[in-house]
Amino acid sequence: MTANPIRVVIADDHPVVRVGLRNMLQVDPLIQVVGEARDGVEALEMCRALQPDILLLDLAMPNVAGMDALRELTGGGLSTRTIVLTGLIEKRQVLEALQLGARGVVLKDAVVEHLTACIRAVMQGQYWLDGHPVQNLVQVLRDLAAQTAPPPRKTFGLTARELEVVNLITEGCTNKDIAKTFGISEETVKRHLTNIFNKLGVGNRLELALFALNHNLMPENSSQ
């Protein structure tokens, strides 16, 4: 009894890498390399034409880069499952690849140890990361998102209202404008400004505006 082979397309711009991968995969009788693409455009064309089970995708390719190819593949309604091959596990990139529909990530220097196992796991509907099948993808995505989130914005002890005042100052508003915007008196605006100057160690509105721009000191929900 012979099961249908798993049909694989390799997408990498380096011929030596493609030849190496193809030959390594050939050892497994259940895997058949049906195509080799030199860039993202070829990878997309081959996936549409050959409808492989698995696309092995290098992220750093010319023309259409791997991540863009992945985005197009996912949006294209193809059943091909993508495994990302990378030289460096960068968490932000892994998160993006998974969000775009990648099913696994394999380091290029772990190909011998993990690639065929990864292909089999992905064909069984699993995800693969860090050399293992993923048990709980949602948790992994949460963890990655937490690890790649930007550091909390420094507010230098300013209150939410003071941050809003700073925002209006950077837009060139006068005290009168600010008072009108918030429905408060100009005296209150002045008091806010005094507090802001003291907290930030600036002496005037221009210094404040420069400080705010340099330190990205805008309210969280500021719409630019």
Binding site: V17, V19, N23, V27, G87, L107, K108, D109, V112
Partner: protein
Amino acid sequence: MCHEKERPGPESETHLRPAVFEQLRLAMNSDPSGFLELYRDYLAEAWLSVQALRVSIQQRDAEAVRAKAHYLKSSSMVLGAAHVAQEAAILEEAAAGGRFDEAAARLNQAVLRLKQVTARLVEELGREVDPAGITAA
């Protein structure tokens, strides 16, 4: 009775990872000249990358350095030249950060590692695998 090859020590293992080399040799058992050609092509391109890297570092062309270092890293990883891959990875990072002095130093290290890989491959596959004649000197 066949003679078993002496097992390489840990240091030389990382010059050329036996797991990778032997799996490829096994996979290409029916095509030994293709196997030789694969490693010959790798070395030829790696030495060309080294030359291109020297020029790009001198020209302080960060993008060119990064791209060439990435190429060297990628092919070295897949073919088991672990030390070359490590040096290329650091070189790639140095280029991305515009640290050209560090990149130049790393390139020298990569060259040393590449010589070691070349020598190891010559031991395994003969002088034909050495396109640049590095080991002839």
